[in-house]
Subunit: 216 residues, 2 copies
């Protein structure tokens, strides 16, 4: 096979990628609502998987609410260090927010062992008592999403946003359906697919949209 | 929709997931070579994407060579902090290896600026002069893979393994084809798909296979 490289300057690779994604979405006949388009395109950019154009689900007005929460200095809690690593913390901190991952914390491991549950559940419990608007970005553990569902339906937690994109085979599909029943603002990737990379991409898309809105 | 959760103990979720993956592979008529099966299944586990059963490509004898390199204390160099975060460093360190990501280093940023290239290329150049067996795990930057191709074909670098799974739309497909022409041991996800999560999953699959082989 003769391999021919495309000549694109380093600084133009992302722009060129988004142009390719837009072209393919057009040729597939996909029309995205204007406010959601940057988010859907960024998830496809991070996964090269056009299925997300069909599977990403949004609660009413979620983009506006999410941008308001970030602008008010929301904390972003991830369920993996990978998700934490992928979030653009420089932009988040510009708006007064911080990113957290409690999965490696000793008190979380202890609580999980004591309660016979996953560390992901214990990490949600630890985050649930934090001050200020909370964004939960779940890219791995359906048990985290199920725990969020419990706390929300018991009236103990009211997150500003739930990014519900765990990946996998056991209770993943179900956990996403539960979150979409709660009435909290959500972005969910329906089905089995998702991941920490997808969770980070959704958070970053929101951060860049806020930058765009505010001309920063 | 009535949502019914599957009752699986936290410690059994991974085992149950792999059983589901094996069942679906069987029903799709996919037969995986025994030495590669744990790696392919772990990539599907991390992505919920069965396409990888078709797109993962392996050089001859790569599993055996990769396990030998890890057993000899190979360094694993990733092209993202997300990939670095996802690798099981506890197991890697047990065999004397370390994981590295040079993308955030000041000297890498400086070298990239000076040479008008990407930080990913500069990070490969920084890693290429390291001692001992080197495993490159590329989940993001095709430019990293292309730089590896150049160094290998110029006779300046002989990696123990290249995990070539960048994701994206510009030169991603091509960079993977180039690596498969070099003759170095490789695991490559042909096409556009891949990612830091996939790169980490492949490294972890190899680490767990070595544990299994050695009864650790």
């Amino acid at each position: 096979m003769k391999v021919t490289l495309e000549n694109v300057l380093p600084g133009d690779i992302e722009k060129r990628s988004f142009a390719i994604i837009e072209g393919e979405l057009r040729s597939r006949g996909v029309i995205l609502p204007e406010d959601r388009a940057p988010l859907v395109k960024r998830v496809i950019h991070t996964s090269a998987d056009f299925e997300y154009a069909d599977t990403l689900c949004f609660s009413d007005g979620v983009i506006e609410k999410a941008l308001a929460a970030i602008g008010a200095g929301a904390s972003v809690i991830t369920d993996t260090k990978m998700g934490y690593s992928g979030i653009n913390k420089r932009v988040l901190e510009k708006y007064g927010g911080q990113a957290y991952c409690f999965m490696g914390d000793a008190d979380v491991a202890e609580m999980a062992k004591k309660n016979g549950t996953t560390r992901a559940v214990a990490a949600v419990d630890k985050a649930a008592v934090m001050e200020g608007p909370l964004i939960f970005a779940v890219g791995n553990a359906p048990t985290a999403l199920i725990r969020l569902y419990e706390l929300i339906t018991e009236g103990k937690l009211s997150p500003a946003l739930v990014v519900g994109v765990p990946v996998g085979f056991v209770n993943v599909v179900q956990s996403k359906e539960l979150i979409m029943e709660t009435g909290v603002p959500y972005v969910v990737a329906r089905g089995r697919k998702g991941g920490s990379n997808v969770a980070a991409a959704i958070c970053n898309a929101l951060l860049y949209m806020l930058d765009e809105t505010r001309g920063m």
